[in-house]
């Protein structure tokens, strides 16, 4: 059983985001990158599956600054193979471009299961899972919260809004978008990561030129604009009701 997990780095929202001079992109100077949280869950789910079934786990990530850290951390958790896709990410790569580059790589790896975080906060052209599934001609289930593996098939529990869940049986191979792992991502001691840095090897694959066609074009990127602030109505229940009625009338509510 081969599992391939996609992981990528996204801007860490701990830092204040700033728009660069072009007005259509984030200013990268002050940005700090962090693993996409849901990709972290996807890695955890893959490791849990490995622990249950003995599957082989490969983690695949674009070569952006900090990628070695997340790959070595994955190795410290138990990932067997680490691959980073080297390429020119400076000018911005969308998910379509990334999916096109990843398709042949993933085909070569002959996975039974492909896991990715179901979304990332900087996905502008849709999340990567369905795009990949399209190029690979494989089924896709998103918002998956739990996976059971059997010979040739998987049972995925998909979460719906409103607290609904559905169990779906799907033939392998399949692309799954992970919403949450069965258990929260584990803590990896720093010494284990340091050990992984000494023992694990990161393979490098060339991305070549990215084909970004089909994605949206950004006209303007801006901070949320502050609207009028809310008014808090104080007083007794009757007073509050009276002022509310007053406000409704003023606004022309019939």
């Amino acid at each position: 059983m081969n599992i391939v997990v996609l992981a990528k780095l996204v801007p860490d929202l701990v830092e204040e985001l700033e728009i660069d001079d072009s007005g259509i992109a984030l200013d990268m100077t002050w940005l700090r990158l962090i693993i996409n949280e849901l990709d972290d869950h996807a890695i955890e789910e893959a490791i849990l599956l490995k622990e249950r079934t003995g599957a082989n786990v490969t983690v695949l990530a674009p070569d952006i600054e900090g990628v070695d850290d997340i790959l070595f951390t994955a190795a410290a958790k138990g990932a067997d193979r680490l691959i980073k896709i080297v390429g020119d990410y400076e000018s911005g790569v969308n998910n379509l471009g990334l999916a096109r580059v990843l398709t042949p790589v993933i085909k070569d790896l002959q996975p039974d299961l492909i896991l990715a975080g179901v979304e990332a906060h900087e996905d502008l052209d849709g999340s990567i899972g369905p795009l990949l599934a399209g190029y690979l001609d494989l089924p896709f289930i998103g918002y998956v919260a739990s996976i059971e593996l059997e010979e040739g098939k998987a049972t995925a529990t998909k979460e719906y809004p409103g607290g609904l869940s559905a169990e779906m049986e799907v033939a392998l191979p399949v692309v799954l978008g992970i919403q949450v792992a069965d258990e929260p991502p584990r803590y990896v001691a720093v010494s284990k990561v340091r050990q992984a840095m000494k023992t694990a090897e990161i393979e490098e694959l060339e991305a070549g030129d990215f084909d970004l066609s089909g994605g949206p074009t950004i006209d303007r990127m801006y901070q949320p604009e502050v609207g009028e602030s809310a008014t808090i109505i104080d007083g007794s229940l009757d007073d509050i009701a009276d002022s509310l009625i007053g406000i409704f009338k003023e606004l022309g509510v019939q």
Partner: protein, 673 residues
């Protein structure tokens, strides 16, 4: 002339038989000792043979002199009388043996004669009385008073073992007196009054029975001898073992500063999973434990209802090693993760142990394994992840670390660029916590107006790692320390000052082993003490407050600084009323050892901080609890609310008192902005 007639009334064959039984005793004893030592040697190596002189002196003061044992009066005197009673009788027996079977047998001389002999008899009689008094106190305490700390032992067989020791010692003492009394009753030597107890017993025999009953004497002598030999032979197999393990453990105790935690004994496999992963010295700890329970009595986690008792950790580990495990694991089945995570690393157990056990080091080593396994509290996991990523537990950007300095004019120097005398290591809580930053501003203002040449590291500072290390995340501690040390090496300063005792401890004691000790480290209370003494800080107004003060574990117990904060309070005109638990006996607020990052389990009845604020509030006329630690302020302010003491007790940082007494105008800085 008074002379010791050893083996009076004892046939020669019995004398020889005694030596044969003695030989057997030695064999059984030696086998037991070898068995123990071989077990120690299965532990990991640890170097403990430096400074032989200090080690021997420790044994003299603590084993022979029983200094720590005596800190608790009743059990201290109880133990001292039993110990010295027994030791004197043992020395007496050895002297008699040498007198008779060495000096007399080989050289036909005896030294237990004339005045030497009568004083020998008198002294032994008196020490025998000490022994019996001590045993009486022990029996009264163990079976009538029944203190909590002797109850609820984790396992069976301990009651029998405890009783065995008391019974054997009692029998040795009583049969010894009876044998002596019978001998005196029959022989009636002139010098009998020099053995007052034996003489009294002899007179009783004369009054009530047949004083010529040599058979009774003979039988009692055999019983006395057999009991003594059984007791000796049983030393390595029973609670008596502490007679040997205790002093040996004291000899091999750590002589490092308390605040310097041992690094893991193995780099490949840090942490302890199986008992063989402990160091030989830790294995010796478990065997030395006498189950006295003093550590349990002072443990804040135990007092709060956490599942931890340092006493039980020692007992359970010893039992696990020596008894069949029946497939149970050490970690999980014998020692639970909950117990280990309950520890606040306050050091109270270590500091009170009469045999100098280091319960904390074993707890931390087992935590180290739990951390490797990722078996940790979710909140702690977040804190560690944040510390690894941002260098602080709050999960905020390091660029926000010095945000609190915004209103300050002139700008505080950046010690990485400008040379300063004092590097102010601000610490996480003082930098980020919303209830602390106003105190941090006060400190900056006081430093500035006193003309102190100081700077901070701005976004270059990282958490010092004191608590990270005590959580058991050694790799993260190394990483944080390395980053700070690199920043230190790029900065020019003479002294580090910090308001955080945890940072103070690790910067002072643990950063030096990483190769940098070109600076000294001061707690802010020490610096203010110096500034007030030198006149650099001018106390304009005596406050006249009646206050009490909480000694932070990492300033007091760990680093012995009790006086500086007290001198500062006194200089500010505060009358200090001590809480019952003060200085060495201070009671942890519950935040240390990473506990501040963890959720309290539901069985916790009353948190340590709540107990502590109640202790402060119970002092008459005291309405201010002064603290000298940012974590204390946060913990106690919260506890004042949950313990419903608002309006009765106010928690104040030492810096607030300084600002009041120096009549500093704080709004000034803000107006300039």
């Amino acid at each position: 002339m008074p002379i010791r007639e050893t083996f009076w009334n004892i046939p020669h064959w019995a004398e020889i038989a005694q030596y044969l039984v003695g030989l057997l005793t030695i064999l059984i004893f030696s086998y037991g000792v070898i068995r123990r030592v071989r077990r120690w040697l299965q532990g990991r190596p640890q170097r403990r043979i430096d400074r032989i002189g200090s080690r021997l002196w420790s044994v003299v003061v603590q084993a022979v002199g029983q200094a720590r044992t005596l800190q608790d009066i009743y059990p201290g005197i109880m133990h001292l009388t039993i110990f010295w009673g027994m030791i004197a009788l043992l020395i007496g027996t050895i002297l008699a043996t040498v007198d008779w079977d060495v000096a007399h047998l080989l050289f036909n001389v005896q030294f237990l004669t004339s005045w030497v002999y009568v004083s020998y008899e008198l002294i032994l009689d008196i020490f025998g009385v000490f022994l019996l008094i001590g045993l009486g106190m022990a029996i009264y305490r163990r079976y009538i008073i029944r203190p909590d700390r002797l109850a609820n032992m984790p396992g069976i067989g301990f009651k029998r073992d405890d009783a065995y020791v008391l019974i054997m010692l009692g029998l040795i003492g009583i049969t010894g007196y009876l044998v002596e009394g019978l001998r005196i009753a029959v022989a009636q030597p002139d010098w009998a009054p020099w053995s007052p107890v034996g003489n009294a017993i002899g007179n009783a025999f004369i009054a009530f029975g047949d004083p010529s009953n040599r058979f009774l004497h003979y039988a009692l002598w055999i019983i006395h001898i057999l009991i003594a030999f059984v007791a000796l032979a049983s030393i390595p197999y029973t609670k008596f073992w502490h007679l040997i393990a205790g002093p040996v453990n004291i000899f091999f105790r750590s002589l490092e500063p308390a605040g310097k935690m041992s690094a893991p004994t193995s780099e490949e496999e840090p942490g302890v999973k199986e008992w063989r992963d402990f160091s030989w010295k830790q294995l010796l700890d478990f065997e030395s434990c006498t189950r006295c329970g003093r550590c349990q009595d002072v443990c804040p986690a135990h007092a709060s209802g956490f599942s931890l008792s340092p006493r039980d950790i020692m007992i359970k580990l010893d039992t696990f090693i020596w008894q069949p495990t029946n497939g149970r694991n050490m970690l999980g089945d014998t020692i639970s993760a909950d117990e280990l995570w309950a520890c606040t690393s306050c050091q109270a157990c270590v500091d009170i142990c009469p045999v100098f056990n280091d319960q904390l080091s074993s707890i931390i080593d087992m935590r180290r394994y739990l951390v490797l396994e990722g078996d940790i509290d979710p909140q702690l996991q977040d804190a560690l992840a944040n510390l690894g990523r941002y260098g602080n537990s709050f999960g905020k950007s390091e660029r926000m670390r010095a945000k609190w300095t915004k209103p300050i004019q002139p700008k505080i120097k950046d010690a990485r660029r400008d040379e300063v005398e004092y590097l102010w290591f601000v610490g996480d809580y003082a930098s980020y916590h919303t209830s602390m930053t106003d105190k941090t501003l006060m400190m900056a203002k006081v430093f500035q107006s006193a003309g102190l040449d100081f700077g901070i590291l701005y976004d270059g500072e990282r958490n010092s790692g004191n608590d990270v290390r005590r959580v058991g995340e050694e790799g993260l501690f190394d990483m944080l320390a390395e980053k700070n040390l690199v920043t230190f090496s790029k900065s020019t300063f003479k002294t580090i000052v910090t308001s955080d005792p945890h940072s103070f401890n690790t910067l002072k004691n643990e950063y030096s082993e990483n190769g940098n000790d070109h600076y000294s480290v001061l707690h802010y209370s020490q610096l203010f003490d110096q500034m007030i003494t030198s006149g650099q800080l001018n106390v304009a107004r005596k406050l006249g407050y009646k206050v009490t003060y909480h000694d932070p574990c990492y300033l007091g117990r760990y680093n012995g600084e009790y006086d500086a904060p007290r001198r500062v309070m006194s200089a500010l005109g505060c009358e200090l009323v001590e809480m019952p638990r003060n200085k060495e006996n201070t009671f942890c607020c519950g935040a240390g050892g990473g506990r501040i990052w963890m959720e309290d389990p539901p069985e916790v009845a009353e948190r340590p901080a709540e107990m502590r604020v109640k202790e402060a509030a119970s002092l008459s006329g005291v309405s201010i609890l002064v603290v000298a630690c940012p974590k204390d302020l946060v913990m106690f302010q919260d506890a004042v609310k949950t313990a419903d003491l608002e309006g009765k007790l106010v928690v104040k940082d030492l810096i607030e008192l300084i600002v009041e007494a120096t009549e500093m105008n704080l709004s000034e800085t803000e107006e300039q902005n």
